[in-house]
């Protein structure tokens, strides 16, 4: 598996640390209430198909990367820097 880092180009999977769902980019407001926070902290979909994950280019440039990929075909559609995602 190879992931294209927007800074470094295509790199081997071993250079990356996998964080999980890219949900950390949509953190609820502090006053969003217990239901929103419970959902944010504990509930995850487990889709067969398109997912959007956060990966850390740990043994490379140190950037957090949003990776859009498909868990059925293993295709990676798109990668971009988490730092440039609009919140």
């Amino acid at each position: 598996m190879r992931i294209t880092c927007p800074n470094c180009g295509e790199r081997d999977r071993r250079e990356f640390y996998y964080q999980g769902d890219a949900l950390a980019l949509t953190r609820p407001a502090p006053d969003a209430g217990p239901h929103a926070w419970d959902d944010y902290l504990h509930n995850r979909d487990n889709p067969a198909g398109d997912t959007r994950d956060l990966w850390f280019h740990e043994a490379g440039c140190g950037a957090w990367i949003v990776v859009s990929r498909n868990t059925v075909t293993h295709a990676i559609d798109d990668t971009h820097l988490a730092a440039t995602v609009k919140r």
Binding site: N7, C8, G9, D12, C61, G62, A63
Partner: protein, 177 residues
Amino acid sequence: MVKLLPRSPCTDLLPRTVGTITMSEVLLDRVMSVAPFAGQAKPTSAALKDQIGLGLSAPGRAVSNRRARVIWAGQRMWLVAADVSLDGLAAVTDQSDAWAILRIEGAGVEDVLARLVPIDLRASTFKGGHTARTMLGHMSVGITRVGAQAFEVMAMRSMAATLVHDLQVAAENVAAR
């Protein structure tokens, strides 16, 4: 007062030669990490240009002149080999004694590095002035091409002996072929 003797990271380890490959230590008087504050990359680059004649390099690139060097070192991070003053523009940390810097050169140097580094360092893709943050064995390193058959490898100082050992073994194995 106690007088301490300076020891470079690769004291007792370098230089050494294996077949066609030579490894030697590169000593930089100053290595400052420069991380521009949000929105300050351009002013930081302009200030550096004033002070050392070099601005921030593009991702994956290193630049140098007679006075200084600027090496891209990761996401919004550069290593600058010079004293710089960037108050209010960037977080600057003195890392002068933090890095072991090894120059490896000679015929077949790309074959030696290919045994340890997962990226393509051949001259057709990794040209003069190109730099990369990647792995060498299990270590996180920075690698810069500094000549047709020469590279510089930067690793954390505490890993100097492992860096030299891994390269020594790889060079021996290439030489034995």
